[in-house]
Subunit: 209 residues, 2 copies
């Protein structure tokens, strides 16, 4: 019973995540979400309080995933900067591609120039990831393993931006790459390994002495 309820809630959040990715936060109506999820509209408010509550619940559910990535690599001193970089790329590409709906939803909201409670919250979450990556780069430069005269900040934009471009503009990137980047099978067979390899190569080209 307790388990079933959680499953039902999870099902609603799964559907909501997809609908938010399809239509955007404002474009996704609670009727569309509840209808697609096969539950009464009032259940959304019963479970999550409000539409924004649904949105935030999706976030809370995924935050754990993000922080796991950080915990894995973050302050592990047994790895070299290059190894850390590799592990970070591996782990991050994996998580982002697997949760592309959430990722698309997140970035659509954060791209609103008007500040709000929501954009602040999202910014804080994303910044955690950025900071870890920045730390790895900074350490590598400090220890002399990475080239000195690099633009560390814009390199951040490149790594996250490349990944965003592929995931967040699927209509474009699917044409460029020649296969549907949102298709699960294509992601496993083609996109993930290719993207990992490319990002590593790119970083090496730019950071190597």
């Amino acid at each position: 019973m307790e388990k079933e309820k959680t499953d039902k809630k999870d099902h609603i959040l799964d559907v909501a995540e997809r609908i938010f990715a399809e239509f955007g936060y404002d474009g996704a109506s609670t009727r569309a979400i509840s209808g697609e999820a096969g539950v009464n509209m009032a259940m959304l408010n019963y479970y999550f309080g409000s539409k924004e509550g649904v949105f935030l619940a999706i976030f809370e559910r995924r935050i754990a995933m993000f922080q796991q990535v950080l915990a894995e690599i973050g302050n592990d001193t047994s790895f070299s900067p290059w190894e850390k970089l590799d592990k970070y790329i591996e782990s991050y590409v994996e998580k982002v591609v697997n949760n592309n709906c959430f990722h698309i939803m997140l970035h659509r909201e954060i791209s609103k120039t008007k500040k709000s409670e929501l954009t602040d919250k999202i910014t804080a979450i994303v910044m955690k990831n950025v900071t870890v990556f920045q730390g790895i780069i900074a350490d590598g430069v400090k220890s002399g393993e990475f080239k000195k005269d690099t633009d560390q900040e814009l390199l951040v934009a490149t790594i996250f931006g490349t990944k965003n471009y592929i995931i967040n503009t699927p209509h474009i990137s699917s044409v460029v790459l020649g296969y549907d980047v949102l298709d699960g099978e294509a992601q496993e067979d083609k996109l993930k390994p290719r993207l990992k390899k490319y990002l590593k190569t790119l970083l090496k080209a730019y950071l190597q002495n």
Copy 2:
């Protein structure tokens, strides 16, 4: 009079572009747009037919800008691949930063996974730019000036993605870079030259033999 009318229309589109960037297409109400522009709400429909008409009018107004970039460099055979690349970066960074509201608005809409007439239109526009860039890279590889074993498609994602990340997630990139990336003065003094230089360096590192 004819001139004034055009000015008024342009003013409305300027305001609408900003509001769309702030709140997204669905989040931006026609009342907010007309109110901010200081015109009666009915004028939007009188001039542009509908809310979507306003949105499309913004596009039509900016498309010229995009195609200008293409015309400048596109098929000019007097430039070497490296020169073309330089010019493309210069021109593109300039246009995108100057029209960041439009750019944000465009990418928010194109990130909707659900296909629609609108996403198709936007995709077609963006693809024109992508194709030109791809052509420059392909030519360079063909002529032997660029390294052979590169991932040309993902390099596209990197160039456009880096720029997108800075412009489309201003709350993040402003923190990372240390200044407001949406501020006109900071854009001229810091962002533009830095971004141009970085992208050229990055391309050189990845493409040079």
